[in-house]
């Protein structure tokens, strides 16, 4: 069986979505814990029906927010990796520089877009974990993609090294990174890593976008269960209830992206948008909670 044949890709998709994949998604609540403690969305109501209605509203708003802000980064990374793969087929020399440079740009954009401390931590923790496990544990990746992943990892390590040295101005060359790429730095945000890895594993763009939304929904429902908002069985039922909404969110994104790609939008795709400023602030308020179960 070929490594990127449709049947193999299905198995890969299931594994990437598996809760057993050690990327740490379950450490984040997307602001649900803050909403609960700050008594928003009626999440502290004793009436279960009101509580569930509030949770569904929160989930819908979170999905829409993540889709409008981060799906463009996932999709852009997926498309950039596709272009880079085509480039690799022509020439090996210098192409990894172009690949890493493009990814590092998306990573920087992602960092500038996420303006909550907790959100940044959550995104980089999951991105780094995904990168770490992909580097050495996915045998079906091509050698070029493996090389890219290692270079990307070194780039991030270089940055971490600088931070540990406590001298950003010192800015020595990142560890293991060639001299001509030492001006690059990266943090390893989840959205670009996820989009890039999906393309490298042969997952198509639409499925990749759906997968990202699924992860948001899955982690959110897991957080709701751990926070005691609903039981595990009710969480399954509610998650299934939300699939229609999730598909509407994905459909709207794909429609807008196709429209903006046709009219020459941001690098041929749909640019990110912040459409829910209040939810954004709520997610940032997680930092102020006295006691916290989740990282964000």
């Amino acid at each position: 069986m070929e490594s990127n044949s449709p049947s193999t890709v299905s198995w890969v998709i299931w594994q990437l979505l598996d809760s057993n994949l050690p990327t740490g998604g379950f450490a984040h609540s997307y602001g649900l814990e803050a909403a609960l403690q700050l008594k928003y969305f009626d999440l502290q109501s004793v009436d279960e029906e009101i509580r569930v209605t509030g949770l569904l509203a929160f989930a819908r708003q979170t999905m829409e927010q993540q889709a409008s802000l981060l799906l463009p980064m996932v999709s852009a990374a997926h498309h950039a990796a596709k272009d880079a793969t085509a480039l690799l087929k022509c020439t090996d020399a210098g192409s990894s520089v172009s690949m890493v440079s493009r990814w590092a740009t998306l990573d920087k954009e992602c960092h500038a877009l996420i303006t909550t401390e907790g959100g940044r931590r959550a995104s980089t923790a999951q991105g780094l974990a995904l990168l770490r496990l992909a580097c050495d544990n996915i045998p079906s990746l091509s050698s070029q993609h493996c090389q890219w992943l290692r270079t990307a990892r070194d780039l991030i390590r270089g940055r971490v090294g600088d931070r540990h040295r406590g001298d950003a101005a010192g800015a020595s060359e990142p560890l293991g990174v060639p001299h001509h790429m030492s001006i690059l730095s990266a943090r390893g945000h989840q959205a670009p890593v996820f989009g890039w890895l999906c393309q490298a594993l042969g997952v198509d763009a639409v499925t990749c976008v759906r997968m990202f939304c699924y992860l948001v929904l899955r982690d959110l429902m897991a957080a709701a269960t751990r926070l005691g908002l609903v039981g595990p069985l009710a969480a399954v039922r509610l998650q299934m209830t939300l699939y229609e909404d999730a598909e509407a969110v994905v459909g709207r994104f794909l429609e807008q992206e196709a429209s903006e790609r046709a009219t020459g939008g941001k690098e041929g795709g749909r640019g990110p948008r912040q459409e829910n400023p209040l939810l954004d602030i709520l997610q940032g308020a997680h930092e102020k909670l006295y006691s916290r179960l989740f990282i964000s």
Binding site: E109, T115, G166, D245, P272, E275, P277, L278, I281
Partner: protein
């Protein structure tokens, strides 16, 4: 500092404002505008004189619905290391006295701040009327507007009971004390303060988000060295009333009086 400001009202009905500025080392750029308010759709009454064959003059009164405000704003600030920036960008839900609440057509604000060519902050805000809002105000011009009907949650629902939102950006060595001061005010409230609602800044006193006059979220933009926070932050504030946010801005930015010559937001 080399600012370039442009504003236009294109035939499409979209009002645009573009600001591009470069901040040189040791220079300070303070953008301290009043809040932005986008209006709802207005009913326009047209009186047209009609001359009929029997020479009597009649006036025909026709009503047409003009779409609500459609506003686009782009701010690009390019800083060189050592430059200083105070940026305030705030907007309200509409003319609250007339009962307007998030009923304008579209508000788009794209703010980018660079430091030595590196993107530090990117805030691509987009607020569009959602389901059922401005239903009488058809606006076919924008491609994105056509898909707003499929959004799950309407704009007014998303914004909750908050009517004023603000982005405050502070960057630069000259603002180090101010940055530390704002940063400290956003620290985690003590358990006692949280429980009793007796101490701390106003936004910490309330027992729940629904009761708070203002909520805020802070993010450091520049990595600190040796464990210290960096010289740059972005603070996002949501207020139930414009005055609540203005008071916060006034208290935060009072130390700027020595730079700009007057206390910002003290005389509105």
């Amino acid at each position: 500092m080399r600012p370039h400001l442009g504003a236009s009202s294109a035939r499409s009905g979209v009002t645009r404002q573009t600001l591009t500025a470069t901040v040189a080392p040791s220079a300070t750029l303070a953008l301290l505008p009043d809040f932005l308010t986008c209006f709802r759709c207005v009913k326009v009454r047209k009186i047209v004189p009609l001359l009929v064959p029997d020479s009597k003059l009649f006036f025909s009164v026709s009503f047409s619905h003009k779409s609500g405000a459609d506003y686009e704003q782009s701010q690009e600030i390019r800083m060189l290391r050592g430059g200083n920036l105070v940026l305030v960008d705030w907007y309200t839900s509409g003319r609250m006295g007339r009962g307007e609440s998030w009923v304008f057509h579209r508000l788009s604000s794209n703010t980018r701040v660079y430091m030595d060519g590196q993107l530090l902050l990117w805030e691509p805000l987009l607020l569009e009327g959602g389901k059922g809002e401005g239903a009488t105000c058809s606006k076919p011009s924008s491609a994105s507007a056509s898909s707003s009907s499929s959004r799950l949650t309407a704009l007014a629902t998303r914004m909750g009971s908050y009517h004023c939102f603000c982005l405050l950006v502070l960057i630069g060595p000259r603002l180090a004390d101010l940055i530390q001061q704002v940063s400290r005010s956003q620290g985690r409230p003590t358990f006692q303060a949280w429980e009793r609602g007796a101490a701390g800044p106003a936004e910490h006193r309330a027992q729940s988000l629904g009761d708070s006059a203002c909520v805020s979220s802070l993010c450091h933009l520049i990595d600190g060295t040796q464990g210290k926070k960096g010289q740059g932050l972005a603070l996002k504030i949501a207020g139930k009333a414009t005055e609540d946010v203005r008071q916060l801005l006034k208290s935060f930015l009072a130390p700027l009086a020595s730079v700009v010559g007057t206390e910002p937001y003290s005389g509105m």
